[in-house]
Symmetry: none
Subunit: 209 residues, 4 copies
Amino acid sequence: MYSNFENLSEDKKRTILEACIHEFAEKGYENSSTNTIVKEAGISKGILFHYFKNKKGLFLYVVDYCIRTIVEEYNKYPLVETGDIFQRLSELSVIKLKLTHANLEMSKMLMGAIGNSPEDIRSEVESRYSELSSEYMPAIFQKVDYSKFRSGVNPLKAIEILMLFLEALGDKYIKNYQGKEQDLLQNYDKLTEEYNEYMEILKHGMYSS
Amino acid sequence: MYSNFENLSEDKKRTILEACIHEFAEKGYENSSTNTIVKEAGISKGILFHYFKNKKGLFLYVVDYCIRTIVEEYNKYPLVETGDIFQRLSELSVIKLKLTHANLEMSKMLMGAIGNSPEDIRSEVESRYSELSSEYMPAIFQKVDYSKFRSGVNPLKAIEILMLFLEALGDKYIKNYQGKEQDLLQNYDKLTEEYNEYMEILKHGMYSS
Amino acid sequence: MYSNFENLSEDKKRTILEACIHEFAEKGYENSSTNTIVKEAGISKGILFHYFKNKKGLFLYVVDYCIRTIVEEYNKYPLVETGDIFQRLSELSVIKLKLTHANLEMSKMLMGAIGNSPEDIRSEVESRYSELSSEYMPAIFQKVDYSKFRSGVNPLKAIEILMLFLEALGDKYIKNYQGKEQDLLQNYDKLTEEYNEYMEILKHGMYSS
Amino acid sequence: MYSNFENLSEDKKRTILEACIHEFAEKGYENSSTNTIVKEAGISKGILFHYFKNKKGLFLYVVDYCIRTIVEEYNKYPLVETGDIFQRLSELSVIKLKLTHANLEMSKMLMGAIGNSPEDIRSEVESRYSELSSEYMPAIFQKVDYSKFRSGVNPLKAIEILMLFLEALGDKYIKNYQGKEQDLLQNYDKLTEEYNEYMEILKHGMYSS
DNA sequence: TATGAATGAGCTTTCATTCAT
DNA sequence: TATGAATGAAAGCTCATTCAT
């Protein structure tokens, strides 16, 4: 496929990928300029198209690379085995937040790739997303102990509240710490504490006491 | 500032604004073409730049217009006077959903304006958002009856959970009903019911019984 | 259609058309450069595409223009009314030769347009050719006096020989005088004489004496 | 000159030449891509330029090769010894037609090489044409029996008519049968008959009866 | 006030040719 | 001898913006 590119030295590959991620993250697919990329990567116009055939091919390759990289990092954090879905999802949220900040441009690029691209690109990106993420995604929902929920609470509704809230909370933190990533990386303990506080409130309403 | 434009007849203003909103909503800032806009609006290129100086000025003016219009419509829905913040926020969410669907292109444009524009545009849009929305935003949080919360629950944390969840839920509905707006408009009762179900679960964990 | 272009001053139109004809005649459709054309015509890149939408549109416009121009000149030479098809075709050949040399680049361009263009261009050119030429083409074959042919000669075969020969002869003269057009223009009498000599030979074989 | 190439095995040479002829015949000089050629020939870009120095050198080599090949095949058809120039030229025309169809891509390439190339290429091709063809051309005009021509007919003029007509007729058949080469190959008898019919008409006008 | 012709930098992509290996 | 990665000029076309009218 893209063996021309993949046979390059790690150094060169990294330089090029970083230039691409930077540009695509900053400007989105359409407004990114292959001119800018080759200038930043210090390569010639011709060779970029020799590696990737065209802009679309380049973009999708970089998307794949980012997904793969981030999923690999996910898998380095094994989730605690517990029936408590609150704890598992809360942990996962913190991990996601951590990874997002450790790979800020990749995350930005991936978000833009879905929210911000012409139709034919978006659909390809989405299929790649589901393919890879379904392959790698850890089994969050296995062995949930539904007996913990108090009667009168639909566990599915409860879990949906939980997930939507956690996602929204994560987005809020990402926005708040934009440009101040160092602050966030130094405050994970405080962060985990905050998450726990929210979890306690929600658990109280959903679990039987 | 833009008095040249504002002195036009309402009809002409509307025609031009609609052309802009349509194009910007569809294509985002960068990929929108002033050419397309003038063609759709039936005016000349020269006069567009006479009114708005440049593309950026035009875009920000249209953003302002959309924010103002939607906020005005918000204010047509007086919230029930009650100490129950759950009810107030839930109502507000449903209204927001309704308005989003009643002003679909404006909403789409505003989302794109934030998620989809070059850096210098985005920051200007964000400052306008907070400026205008703080000016118009109704006083949701006045007269909250904090005594309803059970001891051990920080009301501010609780309200934050509530707001984040409601925003996320709203976004989810918007995505789900994309292209099927009619379905949503015919199901507001079912929608309200669903919101209430979620509210019951959350209230149970936060209020004292 | 191309009213933007057509409303220009005659001077400017001529300058642009000449630049196009020169480039297209010299290099054919594919290898002609719009860059070269605008440089030679002294106009900007943008305005060329404003006039003609794209390279194909430009090319077909110029083809039309050349066909129209040459056909108009044809019509200035009324053919002698006679039943002698030999005389009529011979005259027409000399006229054609004259026009070809008076409009050398146009002729070259038109030949290239048919023999030398990508498929989709060629077919459009061909349909234009037949459209226009059928509209303007003088009625060569009306009132041919078939009784002049001697028995044993199929008049249709005879006319075919005549036409193929005349066309080939014309092509030969065009090639021979390439670059020495002045010489040819000064020798039309000698030329007509030569044609007559050939005609005498052919007539002798085909007409009854 | 091109001894590097010529020392290759016959197999390899053929593979490379066929790839070139195919590409050049299909697309003409300028639009042919050396990339496509090396891919089809299964060789590297470097070696192609090592063999032929540059695209022009390659093209002219292939032109030479095609001319040489076709001329060699010509020489396999010994012309009937006769004083009748009509019969000799007519036979030659049919042979030419046959060879054109038996070596379709070579013929197509050679036509394009003359009608379809940038100026500096065309002139080189033309000089090669005359060089080689004069070297190989069989002695058509030896031993013409000029006494057969009736008085009043300049034999040179007559022969010129004949040759131009035959060439034009051949071209017409080639065009007519483009894409339907099989049809033509199965109809050589009918073809020869048609040629004879034309010859009879012309002879009648030129020979003394 | 209003027009739209005109500009030229910018876009993605292809190409013949070179050269380190 | 043979490879194919690398180059950068050139292609057709679009764009926001200006300015003479």
